[in-house]
Amino acid sequence: MHIPDAYIPLGQAAVYWIIAAIFIARSIKWARSDLDENMIPLFGVLAAGMFVLMTINIPIPMSPVSWHMVGAALTAIIFASPWAAVLLMTLVLAVQSLYGDGGITVMGANIINMGIIGGFSGYYSYIALSRLSLTRSKAMFAGAWISMILPAIALSFEMWFAGTFPLKQGVFLMSLFQGAAGIGEGIITVIVFGAISKARPDIVAEDAHKKVSTAKVAAFSIIALAGLALAAPFLASSNPDGLQHTASTVIGNGINSAVSPITPLFPNYAIPGMGMSGKMAAIVIGFAVVLVIWLGISKIIKKG
């Protein structure tokens, strides 16, 4: 999961560093002002503990391999802020890079993947899912799993921009690996959170979870889903999908010329004549329509 030096060209690495630096500055500001007291020394000590507990091997369920924890979702949930994850992951990744785990020039990209994307997606998906009346542990497991899979997808895109790995294979391999590791991460996150809230309930800022406004959670979910929607067309294959392919082999070529009773609004999931941006626009429009319908249905159900 840690990109090494030289695998991303210097220009792109610099862009990632600039984005990461903005987030790091904001996370320090969070540690200084948003907490009750000045927590900076405490976070330094905690980062040392996090570094050490990331060396503990966790067996991945149903497989003979082990992986170590990342902990972005866990810290974000415990301190009720994704900025905690950004700050702790930055410190840990900086020291890890000295051990040859992740590069120096690409540290910005690594911070973006594991700290920023991992922390924000883990935290807000946990809040969103527990708002959708999922039990706490299920929502936390899902949040931790998402905080592993989204960085994997982001990493595949970064390697693709860099020209070092083809996109589809990268997404497939990384999601397969991180998806399995995410199961371990999810289980461990639930266990650790449970143990900490039992032993030191004052550390866990659980009241703060309820204070997060639904609008904010919805906004973050929409940003994340829109990001995925924008990424999806690059992954889509222009070959016919399984159902279409089977149908065309069974019926012969007739299926393509068969007259459909309804003219599709976006044939082949794209707005005609707009190329790749047409595909992206079609997905965003479709996504917005589904969201509106879904919100409508849930309103009706709640009233009933």
Partner: protein
């Protein structure tokens, strides 16, 4: 992966000319070499002698530092695999930034080894090797606290410096604490891969280890913070770093590193 934490600090406290060098010089030199290696064009055969020159310079410094051979091989062995496996795949991949490929070999399943991919793959691995060598040299000749105070002298922001100072101070405390937990578990016959106990139970034990470490480090942080408050710590506090003058030899070493880079960039063309 981090079995080296204590070995690393042991190596960093050896005595040699490289260990005695100013930490600032070592940081600047490492960054210069890494940025230069990464910035080299991605498809140029001339890059190989350039990288070889950088690697040779780093190897000389490693010899001067008298680092243990078995320690170095271990450091390289744990750092290289991920980078190597990506570099190894390059000849089979059609890189998007290359327009035409010359196929060297055809393998079954439609795999093709391309000359351009081979060049790109070996070049990226050579660059990666130089970067890793530079990082290993830096981290095994400079102690972590020296690194942080040097970074502070180089103008690292006050709060980040405080965070790193605290982190480096307690890293080994928790490392030893984890060691004790592991020993205690081992004496009770705990094994991660024991098939006679349910996997669920094993996961739970690992989870408790992690929670205990988390809570202990949090409580250590609280105690440290309280005692800092008692000694008058407030938000405007600074980490004290004494002034240190750079010696002539330090500046000479930096000049030498710059000379190596300049020689690699411009000198090799005339050979």
């Amino acid at each position: 992966m981090h079995a080296t934490l204590t070995e690393l600090e042991r190596e960093a406290y050896r005595k040699s000319p490289v260990h005695r060098m100013d930490g600032r010089i070592k940081i600047i030199m490492t960054l210069l070499l890494i940025v230069y290696a990464v910035a080299l064009p991605r498809m140029e055969v001339l890059d190989f002698p350039r990288l070889l020159l950088l690697e040779a310079y780093l190897a000389v410094l490693m010899l001067l530092a008298r680092l243990e051979f078995s320690y170095l091989t271990f450091r390289f062995a744990i750092a290289l695999p991920f980078g190597f496996s990506i570099a190894f795949l390059q000849p089979f991949i059609k890189q998007p930034f290359i327009s035409d490929f010359t196929v060297l070999y055809r393998l079954p399943f439609g795999l093709e080894v391309t000359g351009e991919g081979l060049l790109f793959g070996t070049l990226i691995f050579a660059k990666f090797l130089v970067c890793i060598t530079a990082v290993i040299l830096l981290s095994s000749t400079t102690s972590l606290s020296e690194l942080v105070s040097s970074a502070r002298r180089l103008g690292m922001p006050r709060e980040l410096a405080l965070l790193f100072t605290m982190m480096v101070r307690y890293l080994f405390v928790f490392w030893i604490m984890l060691g004790r937990i592991r020993t205690a578990q081992k004496t009770r016959g705990f094994d991660l891969w024991n098939k006679k106990v349910p996997r669920r139970w094993t996961l739970q034990q690992v989870g408790y280890t992690i929670s205990s470490l988390f809570i202990r480090s949090y409580e250590q942080g609280e105690r440290t913070y309280q005692s800092m408050l008692c000694r008058g710590y407030n938000a405007d506090a600074q980490v004290y770093v004494g002034k240190k003058k750079m010696g002539v030899s330090d500046i000479l070493v930096l000049a030498l590193a710059l000379g190596v880079i300049i020689a690699a960039q411009f000198g090799l063309k005339f050979l």
